[in-house]
Subunit: 467 residues, 2 copies
């Protein structure tokens, strides 16, 4: 009889709890869509500050602005965490053309890749060798490459549904192409922009020379997809085409910057820390609205939405706005380093760094047992069309926190439009839809609410479910 009463009691409490969860999620979504702050914050970050490359004045303005806004929310703590960041500057705009015969030139749209060296002052002009992958370089060898500009023309694979997979398949060309081409005596590299659309925007992004000696480093630029097609078509007709480009970028000395952090201290388990974040820095060409202004303002609004919805977290909820994700990951590394020094117990981290588009769900880096627990919440998300719950990667900034205890999670918005804007001058505020952004903030808040309420302890955190 006692058992029966207990069972009935647990059943009823379970029902009440589920109802409360549904009501709290409704309040969170409703609040975000009618009264959200994310869009207004993004407007300031994008239109009053603009592109926020690490080490720039704008990046520091963004630090100050977001700190002040977090302070207005009445959190328990707001602080800046110092971190030294690299400072790469683009200098005057790049200029490029190809020449089909002496004096007959066609201008093309390029931009220096982040981390690249400049061309000599007078620019570089050389013949072009086109490849589909940097792996083709070995087969061609020095005989074919020496003295030429290597043009890596690898289109993103259009038939992958998740555009991040298509990006992943090509990003290495941008990152490592110049270092590889330099080994065979190339004088520069031009990489097709990582953009699924045919248009005129060159897309920057980080590249690295690895351990290549400084005097062997060659300048590397991205070319717009339209111009990549044009150049490729021209090379098919005429191998003698010459390409000219001039870029004026410089790597300066590291400078002091900050991660911006705010927290609501947990009422029951203050030492269990849940973080939510995005990165405050962006590339310099656009205003970084999708990458990652969106993630920044959504993360800020998670704490506000919890408070507005009358939710008092049991665990500590911390928003972390990371500096320097784009060209160094110094902020993410510093945050993890300090966390380890302080022996902080991070149990959950959620990153939004895939654009401010309609959220579809989340990707979880965790044990199967924990994943099963999270999956049991799917019905709560159904009214909001949040359906994607899969195991997988999370986000670059929270990656350094990885250990056996923490659950790492990435927001997964609809990915179709992301690479139209990514790292290009059209990553701007007018391409962010207010409702899509707000739905993302609400979805993140809803997940954080459930994680805080039910914790990350499972029957066994170490033993994986066998299936």
């Amino acid at each position: 009889m006692r058992l029966l009463i207990t069972i009935v009691f647990c059943f009823i409490m379970g029902q009440i709890s589920a109802q409360t969860d549904a009501e709290n999620l409704k309040s969170i979504y409703s609040n975000s869509l009618t009264n959200g702050m994310s869009y207004q914050w993004l407007d300031h970050l994008s239109n009053q500050i603009g592109g926020r490359l690490s080490g720039s004045l704008n990046a520091e303005k963004a630090v100050q602005y977001t700190k002040e806004e977090l302070e207005k929310l009445g959190l328990d703590k707001v602080w800046l965490q110092p971190v030294m960041v690299p400072r790469w500057v683009r200098g005057a705009p790049e200029f490029a053309y190809f020449e089909t015969s002496p004096g007959v030139t066609t201008n093309v749209n390029i931009c220096a890749l982040g981390g690249s060296v400049a061309t000599p002052l007078g620019g570089i002009k050389a013949k072009v060798i086109e490849v589909k992958s940097y792996k083709d370089l070995e087969a061609l060898g020095e005989a074919e490459i020496k003295g030429k500009i290597v043009f890596i023309n690898r289109p993103m694979q259009a038939d992958l549904i998740n555009t991040f997979e298509a990006y992943g398949g090509c990003a290495v060309e941008r990152y490592a192409g110049a270092a590889e081409a330099a080994k065979y005596g190339a004088v520069g590299t031009i990489v097709r922009s990582l953009n699924l659309r045919l248009d005129d925007f060159p897309h920057t992004g980080s590249m690295s020379y690895g351990d290549l000696p400084v005097n062997q480093r060659i300048p590397s630029a991205a070319i717009s997809t339209n111009d990549a097609e044009l150049l490729s078509g021209m090379l098919a007709l005429n191998k003698e085409v010459k390409f000219f480009f001039k870029q004026n970028c410089q790597q300066l000395k590291d400078v002091q910057s900050y991660n911006v952090i705010g927290e609501i201290t947990g009422s029951e388990f203050p030492n269990e820390i849940i973080i939510v974040g995005g990165h405050l820095d962006s590339w310099d060409l656009g205003d970084g609205s999708h990458d990652d202004g969106a993630g920044v303002v959504q993360s800020m609004d998670v704490l506000r939405l919890l408070k507005e919805s009358g939710i008092k977290p049991k665990r500590t909820i911390r928003v972390v706005l990371f500096m320097n994700e784009e060209n160094g990951l110094r902020g993410g590394r510093k945050y993890a380093e300090i966390a380890q020094e302080k022996k902080e117990n991070h149990v959950f981290a959620l990153e939004s760094d895939s654009g401010g588009f309609t959220p579809r769900g989340f990707s979880f880096d965790c044990s199967d047992v924990m994943f099963a627990k999270i999956e049991s919440w799917k019905p709560l998300f159904k009214p909001y069309l949040i359906h994607y719950f899969e195991k997988g990667g999370s986000g670059a900034d929270i990656g350094p926190l990885k250990n056996d205890n923490i659950v790492l999670t990435g927001l997964r918005p609809d990915s179709q439009r992301y690479f139209d804007h990514h790292h290009a001058s059209n990553d701007t505020f007018e391409h962010v839809n207010k409702r899509e952004l707000e739905l993302g903030a609400a979805s993140m808040t809803a997940l954080i609410y459930l994680i805080d309420k039910y914790g990350t302890q499972t029957i066994s955190n170490t033993e994986e479910l066998r299936d």
Copy 2:
């Protein structure tokens, strides 16, 4: 033993069939994303033809263009189905302002609602009475309303996740507001645009005077959301504000137009007809790219994608491009009328008329048994992030086909951005994303493929599952 063999055989065949289905879906999606025609067709429809209001020259150009393009696909039959359509013309652009004191005016953005009468040649100027709903008019009565312009300022409900629900909650104000206001002696109505965003675009759409005598009809216009807010704010300060507007629209005589139809005749059950369609007409302010150029080109591409993927339909697959959805539904009604006359057996109809955004799934108007059958295909759609399978409405054009045998279905794309553009001058080609459009075409093709393969017969089509 025989039973066992049968069971094993069925199981194996089931597995093979599922594999083939998965492969066919992959081929369909891949073809649409790498080799689709929908975007190219939409480019022509939007940028070479433009807005296609029923009865206009552009509408006739669209009829000719889509017929010619369907003829190029090598279908078994392509034809035009004549239908008489209403012809309403906007005339010269509208003009409006409000006047806070004599001579002190502020211009505002309005557009005549489709079907409205014009103002007198010199326009109308009158005091304004603001209401949130046309239902408020009865309480105010003639004493408050007579001689005034009624301003119906009902915002769409922002916290509904499905924006079509929010639209449904307000569309009656636009459709019936003028007829209702006229009963109390109003001289005109100004309706807040059905737009969830605050911006400067007025959004047109159909309205009706019902059986109101012609001499009692008053002009009705939509005002942009920004200007609705401005006017409302001004009225809160000063009830004496006067509103002026002039519009020049006319209802002309009905003219001849066409539904455009093409089909692949079924190889096994040619008399079972499956249709897929959108509407060829659009409002006149933009180029009708989302509403419903997208649905038109996606539907056309369904037949092409089936052919390209080597699928030979057992049933007849027919694309129907309906004329006059926006202000009369004459094409949809005519199609159903002719189908009934010819005793055609329509078993399935799919409409795309919710914009060319990332597809999320489908809404089905069918029996529970049939719905269960369709739901069993969900795993096939999972790789394409198509997750929304719900019972519900379908589309306006296919509605007149409704009977006990037919399954009516609507494509359900992400709805967040739809009403930013709906019926406004910014419903234009550049706001359609190629991949999103193509994913919609592929999803429609995949569903049609499965419906054709497995049919719409269920254990019992008449007896519903009790649950």
